[in-house]
């Protein structure tokens, strides 16, 4: 019972990480980024390509390099696609288009078969036992990193100039512009930070999951559920939502069946949307 709970929380940590990027983009730009899962997938594949640099099979050393690559890549994508249609186009279609483009570009290069990323066995199967509860090492690290990033993000948004500019843009773009905030730069930075966070989430799951072009889709759906439950654009909400989804998935796959587990997440999402369309942390009034 407690083991299932812990497993759920650990898995939830990964969803939290993913949901963090998702909710940041939505909060600042009011865009639901359907290509978010593909950032994670790209993170996994970039990790795979950079793995030889890590030498000993521990992927965590290449995080800085991954962040730089993801930042440049996502900034270029933003400049080429989102920038021309800001404020007038259909973001849903654009990001679904990007989703397909990334998925199948990667499939063309690496093929559709799931690839094992050469992570050291000591990390892959490593675990810590505390009071009869097994904590898998990669999951624990992922969980800790995700909690650290939520805390870091909250501090960033509340104390730095850029963070405050982001919150101002999120509240009211027009007022932010009149106050001298360069909203375009804020958008591009928020977008790229979100891409980096999601890319790092991709790196964190490499010891646990195989890399294939559509790996991001399932995570995207879970993260959507998490983010909507915790209200789109709300950081603590995303954390609660992510952990909750992890728990639901863990309990459903343990006590019901492995096939039912994905359905439960969706049912929960539909239920939340019907009862509280603005999510559990919604104040109402502010519309998407």
């Amino acid at each position: 019972m407690i083991q299932v709970l812990v497993n759920g929380l650990m898995m939830g940590g990964i969803y939290v990480m993913f949901a963090l990027g998702y909710t940041l983009i939505f909060g600042v730009m009011k865009i639901v980024n359907f290509a978010q899962g593909e950032f994670m997938m790209l993170g996994m594949f970039i990790t795979m390509l950079l793995m030889p640099l890590a030498g000993n099979g521990i992927p965590y050393i290449i995080i800085p390099l991954l962040i730089i690559i993801m930042f440049i890549l996502s900034a270029v994508v933003f400049k080429l696609t989102i920038s021309p249609i800001l404020g007038k186009g259909s973001y849903i279609l654009l990001t679904v288009g990007l989703m397909y483009f990334f998925q199948y570009s990667v499939q063309m290069i690496f093929g559709p078969t799931p690839l094992v990323i050469p992570v050291a066995d000591s990390l892959k199967y490593g675990s810590i036992v505390i009071g009869g509860i097994t904590l898998l090492l990669p999951r624990l690290i992922a969980f800790i990193v995700s909690i650290v990033s939520v805390v870091g993000m909250t501090i960033f948004l509340n104390t730095t100039y850029l963070g405050r500019a982001m919150r101002a843009t999120s509240e009211n773009e027009k007022v932010a512009v009149t106050l001298g905030v360069k909203t375009r730069s804020v958008y591009i930075i928020a977008w790229s930070i979100a891409a980096c966070i999601t890319g790092v989430a991709g790196l964190l799951i490499t010891p646990m999951f195989l890399a294939y072009p559509t790996v991001g889709v399932n995570f995207f759906i879970y993260a959507t559920t998490a983010v909507v439950i915790g209200t789109l654009g709300n950081l603590p909400g995303a954390m609660v939502g992510g952990l909750l989804i992890g728990l639901v998935e863990s309990f459903a796959s343990t006590y019901l069946s492995f096939e039912i587990a994905p359905i439960m997440g969706h049912l929960l999402l539909l239920l939340v949307l019907m009862v509280k369309p603005e999510g559990l942390f919604g104040k109402g009034g502010k519309k998407a």
């Binding site: 639901v32 021309p84 759906i221």
Partner: protein, 339 residues
């Protein structure tokens, strides 16, 4: 009466439509190969799907990503009734449409209260749930789906199985015209104007005393029934159907894409979109096949991005100046005759 007028008006106002219909009727005798006919049938199927989706997604701009769920309901209902009870697909067609309509009502009533992005997200959830249900239901053959063994039934019109692919060409073409006619009728009807009011400003529409929820449900039901009808034809054309082929999110994207690339909220836009997309997909898969699978989908993604950036009104916006020119030519000729 009303429909008759609108159809004759449609043809009078759109000389291009008449030319298109005549060309399409003659096409199978120009393109005699099985492959090209198959591609054309695929185009008509996706034209019909795009038009059906357009009723809610285009006129009211409620981006419904659960289109493939209703499509699959039609496909599986037709096959299950035929394989288990030997009921003709022509009856299964209507059974599928009715079932799909009922399910659309049950799902739509709560879901259509949700607005904007949240509605789209809820639809994605519905799509995934339906896919999982097909994958786990014994009667629909779980993940393998259903197929018509060649020994079952006689090749005839009643069983919707033919030796010549010409039959399906005209059946799907006719069905597409029916769907286009329904969509055109809705466009001009009171319902169409209500839906457009929802698209422009739902709050304003509500404050004018319009019960927008009711009209969205009606549009959802009509759209779902037409999607299901198309599904039945598709299933019997392919003779074998599995959940991933008809119920996955990818299929929804393809349907939505037909409507959007062609021109969202227009009558003939989805048809143009289906032509573009199916051709593009076939072209990419056959010409660029050496790069490995998935080129078609990559081209989709790219096209989608490009259309959103450069042609947000869809490809049909390219056609309207040409059409205007033809219309003005016809008008000036008439005026000359009068003088």
């Amino acid at each position: 009466m009303k429909t008759k007028i609108s159809i004759s008006k449609l043809i009078k106002n759109n000389p291009a439509v008449l030319i298109f219909i005549l060309l399409a009727l003659a096409a199978p005798f120009i393109f005699t190969s099985g492959y090209s006919r198959r591609v054309l049938v695929e185009i008509y199927i996706f034209s019909a799907l795009g038009c059906a989706w357009n009723i809610l997604g285009g006129f009211a701009k409620q981006t419904n990503w659960a289109a493939s769920s209703f499509f699959s309901i039609g496909a599986f209902t037709g096959l299950i009734l035929y394989l288990n009870f030997e009921i003709s697909p022509w009856i299964g067609l209507f059974a599928g449409m009715v079932i799909s309509g009922i399910i659309a009502f049950v799902i739509g009533a709560p879901i259509l209260r949700i607005r904007g992005v949240y509605f789209s997200i809820a639809c994605i959830s519905v799509c995934e749930i339906v896919l999982q249900l097909w994958k786990n239901w014994e009667v629909s053959g779980k993940a393998n789906g259903l197929s018509i063994p060649s020994c079952v039934g006689v090749m005839n019109f009643w069983n919707m199985q033919f030796t010549s692919n010409l039959w399906f060409y005209y059946i799907t073409f006719g069905w597409m015209l029916i769907v286009v006619a329904v969509s055109s009728w809705i466009n001009r009807s009171r319902l169409g104007y209500y839906l457009k009011a929802v698209r422009d400003d739902e709050d304003a529409a509500i404050s004018m005393g319009l019960s927008t929820h009711r009209y969205k449900i009606i549009a959802f039901i009509v759209s779902a029934a037409l999607l299901a009808g198309t599904g039945t034809f598709y299933a019997f054309k392919l003779t074998s159907v599995d959940p991933m082929l008809v119920a996955s999110f990818d299929v929804s994207v393809k349907i939505v894409l037909c409507a959007i690339i062609g021109g969202i909220g227009t009558i003939w836009g989805p048809v143009l979109g289906a032509f573009t997309i199916v051709f593009l997909f076939e072209f990419a898969s056959s010409m660029l096949g050496t790069f490995g699978g998935g080129v078609g989908y990559m081209a989709y993604g790219l096209l989608m991005v490009l259309v959103v950036i450069f042609r947000p009104a869809g490809l049909i916006s390219l056609a309207s100046p040409i059409e205007e020119k033809i219309l003005s030519l016809v008008k000036s000729k008439k005026e000359l005759e009068k003088q």
